[in-house]
C-alpha cells in the first residue's frame, strides 16, 4: 500500500503558516478600517448625545460660536455650503479640460500623449497639496486682489487651486475610461466613414460615459476632502459665501485650523468631530455613487450582450 499518501509534510506546515500570515494581515487592515469608522462616528455624535445640540440646528445654522457654553450657537450650514461651492466650481472648471486632454491622449495623438502629456499630468498628481496651496497663496491671491479688490482670499481662490489639483485625478481616470472602449469599435466606426470627431462623440464618449462620470465623482471626492491647500487660501472665516471673493471656511479648513486649539471632550472639540463625521459621510456617499454608476452601466452592458 502507498503509505506515503497519508504522511504529513512540510508543504502542509508551509500552507498553515501562509494562511495564518495573510489572513492576519487582512484582519489588521479590516480592524483598522472598522476602528476608523467607529471612532469617528462615536466621537461625531457626542455633540448631539452629550452636549445636546439639536441635530437639525447643527445642519441648518451658520454660526460657529462655542464660547458661550450656556447657549452655544453652532451650525455647519455655512461650512457645508462653502465646501460644496468650492468643489462644484473646481469640477466645472476642470472637467472639460480633463476630458479634452484625455481625448487627446487616447485618440488624437497617443504618441505625444503617452510621451509628454500623460507623464506631465502624472507629475502634477504627485505634487503635494501644500505646494498647490503655496502657489495659490503667493501667485493667485495677489492676482485676484489686484483684479477684484479685497484681500483676494476666498471661495474663488480655493476653487481655482482645487481645479488644478484635481485636473490630473480626473484626467488619468478619464484616460483609463476611454482606453476601456475596445479599439475595434473605433476601427469599425472609421470604416463606416465617420470623421474623428464623430467617433469621439458618438462612440468613445457615449460608451465610456459611466466611467467618465465615475472619474468626475472621484475628482469631486478629492476636492471635497482636500484640507491644507484650501485652508491656505480661503480666508478661514465661518460665514455663508455670498460672493466669490468672500473669505469663508470649509469643513476641512475648519478642522485644520481649530483641532489643535481645542481640548478633547469639550463642546468645541466635539463639534469639530461632528464636522469630521459629516466629511466621512460625504466620502461614503461619493463612494456609493461611484459604485452605483458602475453597477448600472455594467448591468446594462450585460443585457445588451
Amino acid at each position: 500500500m502507498n503509505k506515503q499518501l497519508f504522511n504529513s509534510s512540510k508543504e502542509i506546515r508551509q500552507d498553515k503558516l501562509g494562511r495564518l500570515l495573510v489572513y492576519s494581515a487582512l484582519t489588521v487592515v479590516l480592524v483598522l478600517a472598522c476602528a476608523m469608522l467607529y471612532f469617528i462616528f462615536s466621537k461625531g455624535i457626542a455633540t448631539f448625545t452629550q452636549d445636546h445640540i439639536n441635530f437639525w440646528d447643527f445642519l441648518t445654522r451658520s454660526n460657529w460660536n462655542t464660547d458661550n457654553l450656556q447657549k452655544p450657537d453652532l451650525g455647519a450650514w455655512a461650512l457645508m455650503v462653502t465646501s460644496a461651492e468650492t468643489t462644484l466650481l473646481a469640477v466645472l472648471v476642470t472637467t472639460p479640460l480633463a476630458l479634452v486632454i484625455a481625448i487627446y491622449i487616447v485618440v488624437m495623438s497617443p504618441k505625444i500623449g503617452g510621451r509628454i502629456v500623460q507623464p506631465l499630468t502624472e507629475l502634477l498628481l504627485g505634487i503635494p497639496s501644500v505646494v498647490y496651496g503655496f502657489v495659490g497663496l503667493t501667485v493667485l491671491i495677489p492676482v485676484l486682489r489686484r483684479w477684484a479688490g479685497g484681500t483676494g482670499f476666498g471661495v474663488l481662490a480655493a476653487a481655482l487651486v482645487l481645479a488644478l489639483m484635481i485636473l490630473p485625478t480626473i484626467t488619468s481616470l478619464a484616460v483609463e475610461a476611454l482606453n476601456g472602449v475596445p479599439q475595434s469599435y473605433q476601427t469599425f466606426a472609421y470604416s463606416l466613414g465617420c470623421t474623428k470627431w464623430q467617433v469621439i462623440v458618438h462612440v468613445l464618449l457615449k460608451i465610456s460615459a459611466p466611467n467618465l462620470l465615475v472619474a468626475v465623482i472621484f475628482g469631486v471626492a478629492r476636492a471635497f476632502g482636500e484640507a491644507l491647500a484650501v485652508q491656505m487660501v480661503i480666508g478661514n472665516t465661518v460665514q455663508l459665501p455670498l460672493g466669490l471673493f468672500t473669505p469663508a471656511a470649509t469643513l476641512t479648513s475648519k478642522l485644520t485650523t481649530d483641532m489643535g486649539n481645542t481640548i478633547d471632550g469639550t463642546l468645541a472639540s466635539n463639534a469639530l468631530w461632528s464636522l469630521a463625521l459629516l466629511l466621512l459621510v460625504m466620502s461614503l456617499i461619493f463612494n456609493l455613487l461611484a459604485k452605483l454608476v458602475l453597477r448600472r452601466s455594467q448591468s446594462r452592458e450585460s443585457i445588451s450582450r
Binding site: M1, N2, Q4, L5, K10, E11
Partner: protein, 259 residues
C-alpha cells in the same frame, strides 16, 4: 441515457473511479462515473465542450479542492485519494499534470526545473543536474535549447515552453500523468513532438489525456472514454470507439456530426 463501458480489469489499473459525482455548488458536472484507467497505457477522454471531462481529470490530482465537491471513490493504487487525510502534495508528486496553456514560471530554464526538486526536498546539486539533463532528453529539448539553461524560459517558443512544462512535470517521476488538452495551443509540428514524447513515456507512466483533437486521440491512445453531458457514455479500446462504436451518439461525435 445509454452507456456502454468495456472496462479493463481493475487489478491492471492505476486509477479506478467508482460512482464519482462532481458538483459546482448545486450544479452537477459529473454523474455516476465509474471507470478503470489501465496501467502504462494512454487513455483519451473525449467529448463535446462542457461534458465534464476536464473536471473529472482535475479531480484525480485533487486540483478541484475548494472549487468543486467530489463524491464517490477515486482509487489510486487501491487507496481512495479523495480521503480527506490524503496529503495532496505527496499525491501530486506521484500524479503529475500538464495544462492547456504552456505556463513556465517567469524564471530561467534551470530554475524552472530545479524549483520542484528543491521544493520536494532534493538539494543535491549533482543529482539535480543529472535529473534535469535526463528529462530534457526525454522531451527532446536538449538540442534545441543547447547548453544555456540560464536563458529565460519565457523566451522559448510556445511548443518548447510546453515541452519544458512536460519536462518539469516528469522531474518528480510521477506514476500517473494527467494532460488537459496539452497541445491545443500548439502548432502541428510541436503537437507531433509532444505526441512522440507521450508514446515513449508510456513505458513507465499511466497517461490520461483530455483532448478535443479526435485524430490525436486515435493516434496515441489505447483506450478512449467518451463523455457526454456529465456522464461517461462509452469506454472501450480506442480502435473500437473510432471504427465501430457501440452507441449511436458516440458514432455521431467521432464522425464529426456534433461537438
Amino acid at each position: 441515457m445509454d452507456t456502454y463501458l468495456n472496462l479493463p480489469a481493475a487489478t491492471d489499473s492505476d486509477i479506478v473511479a467508482k460512482n464519482v459525482n462532481i458538483y459546482y455548488g448545486k450544479q452537477q458536472a459529473i454523474t455516476n462515473c465509474s471507470a478503470n484507467f489501465p496501467r502504462h497505457q494512454i487513455t483519451a477522454l473525449i467529448g463535446p465542450s462542457g461534458s465534464g471531462k476536464s473536471t473529472f481529470l482535475r479531480s484525480i490530482n485533487r486540483m478541484n479542492d475548494g472549487i468543486a465537491r467530489v463524491e464517490g471513490e477515486l482509487l489510486y493504487q487501491g487507496q481512495n485519494l479523495l480521503d480527506s487525510r490524503v496529503n495532496v502534495y505527496n499525491l501530486r508528486h506521484q500524479i503529475g499534470m500538464l495544462f492547456q496553456k504552456p505556463m513556465p514560471f517567469a524564471k530561467s530554464i534551470y530554475e524552472n526545473l530545479a524549483l520542484p526538486l528543491h521544493e520536494a526536498g532534493n538539494h543535491n546539486q549533482a543529482d539535480i543536474a543529472k535529473r534535469i539533463d535526463h528529462v530534457l532528453k526525454m522531451v527532446d529539448l536538449q538540442h534545441e535549447i543547447g547548453t544555456d539553461l540560464n536563458q529565460s524560459a519565457l523566451q522559448l517558443s510556445g511548443g518548447q515552453q510546453q515541452r519544458l512544462c512536460l519536462a518539469r512535470t516528469l522531474l518528480l517521476e510521477p506514476k500517473v500523468l494527467l494532460l488537459d488538452e496539452p497541445a491545443s495551443a500548439l502548432d502541428p509540428i510541436s503537437t507531433a513532438k509532444i505526441e512522440t514524447n507521450l508514446l515513449s513515456l508510456k513505458a513507465h507512466c499511466t497517461i490520461i489525456i483530455v483532448t478535443h483533437n479526435l485524430e490525436q486521440a486515435s493516434r496515441i491512445s489505447d483506450y478512449t472514454a467518451f463523455f457526454y453531458q456529465g456522464q461517461l457514455a462509452e469506454f472501450d479500446r480506442t480502435k473500437k470507439v473510432f471504427l465501430n462504436p457501440t452507441l449511436a451518439m458516440t458514432e455521431r461525435y467521432v464522425s464529426g456530426d456534433f461537438g
